[in-house]
Symmetry: C2
């Protein structure tokens, strides 16, 4: 691919509120702009270096934060993406939060209460494995709230994210999109490999049976929660190497745009000699 095309990845996968993102037409198997695994690995390696350097600056600067939200259907690759893309970074500057079924205490509060507690502080990269978006996805699919509430929540979430971004927390949202058949293969693999059994639950089958409802919920959410300031990126994720290369590219480019700077040194440091 040409360099021009590479630079358009961010735009290529970005969803906008104004368009009518069509889940049915999206190809999770596609690998636009990359010919093979080797090319993808090389791009990811470069981006790992870039992220590593930019992360140190972000931490030193201590003024901005980056929040990365990962959403996917079961087996979509959130865990793998976190391990592979963000594993090489300095763990001191990364905090991963996996949101599970809410606790009784969490349910006693509004649905953004627990989320807000885990937004990254200045200098940090926060990664959400699932997020507040579950409250317009699983909760919608299981009809725990009605459509009116869902629509209110889209607006509340947009407002919450605006608030975070106005206060120094840049947000990047990735939906890892896999096909129904790819999910079948991955679930079957979990059954076939004894050391992956722990990742399988019978409930996965019940959720898989609701595939079409999830797709509908994702489509509505993607269309309603992609303002220009905090768009979703839908990443073709059937091929892990493609997913990793594209996400690492968008994250590294975003950090570069945030342009974190080492803070200016105190005056007169050059005159100091450390005493014996």
């Amino acid at each position: 691919m040409t360099e021009k095309e590479t630079k358009n990845w961010e735009k290529f996968f970005r969803v906008t509120n104004s368009d009518e993102f069509d889940y049915a037409k999206f190809d999770p198997d596609a690998t636009p702009g990359l010919s093979d695994r080797e090319e993808a690995k090389a791009i990811q390696a470069v981006n790992t270096e870039r992220m590593h350097d930019l992360q140190e600056r972000l931490y030193a600067e201590n003024k901005q934060a980056l929040l990365i939200v990962l959403q996917a259907l079961d087996t979509g690759g959130k865990d793998g993406a976190i391990r592979t893309i963000f594993g090489p970074l300095n763990p001191q500057g990364v905090q991963v939060t996996s949101f599970k079924v809410p606790s009784a205490q969490e349910l006693a509060h509004d649905y953004l209460w627990r989320i807000h507690q885990h937004t990254p502080p200045k200098g940090m990269i926060g990664i959400f494995n699932r997020s507040h978006y579950e409250d317009v996805l699983v909760v919608k699919v299981h009809r725990l709230i009605d459509e009116k509430v869902v629509r209110k929540r889209y607006a509340q979430i947009n407002a919450f994210e605006d608030h975070l971004q106005e206060n120094g927390v840049k947000i990047l949202k990735f939906h890892l999109c896999i096909s129904r058949d790819e999910q079948r293969k991955r679930l079957q693999q979990r059954l076939d490999k004894p050391d992956k059994h722990w990742k399988f639950s019978r409930n996965d089958l019940a959720e898989r049976a609701r595939w079409d409802e999830y797709v509908e919920a994702y489509q509505a959410m993607l269309r309603n929660c992609s303002p220009a300031s905090a768009p979703w990126y839908v990443i073709p994720a059937n091929k892990k190497w493609y997913r990793n290369a594209i996400i690492s590219q968008i994250v590294a480019d975003t950090l570069a745009k945030m342009d974190p700077q080492f803070p200016p040194p105190e005056e007169g440091l050059d005159k100091i000699v450390i005493p014996e």
Copy 2:
């Protein structure tokens, strides 16, 4: 070194309450059992693999946690140890907490309140960059509490750690020990390298002037907070490669002893075929 000696590292660097650990006699430049950087790097690489596999089991098992406490004088290498030793692990299973000067809210509570909030949940490895031990170190050196309170705190800390360990949180405590001259070199380097200026503060000089008082506080703490169930390990840390090899060895050995197991699969998984 012989394999037998290697296996004794854990014992070699372990402090016990009954002995009279003598800080003045400890050599931070020593590298017992390892001849050079290459040998150390090879050992660390093996331990990285071991930790990686054991971490996955720990996470899958979801029954025990490991808490690693790092304490050192300024420039002792806590940040570097975290980046180098734990950087390669899955960030989803590691949480690093850096304890800074307590906030007003934290000061409104007892000194273990903020610590307890950051102990690792089941399945996780928690890393403390500084810890509750600051409350018997910096606080003692600056005479914010008197000796009677310090002695009470040793006992309270031992009791707190007992409680954690009885409830599934295994604790490993490492003091990275550098020499006064090594600190001088490292502080000078921060002054000499513009991209390290942000790590230097004039306050570091004031703290360095209290070197002997810190050594005294460390020695008292090490002697009083090393019960057989939760001993301190004092690691010679002038040579980073030695520090990294030894810590990775003790952590990997400890995880191996914790012996985390993949949970047993639900019954009848072998009969399931994932539907189209």
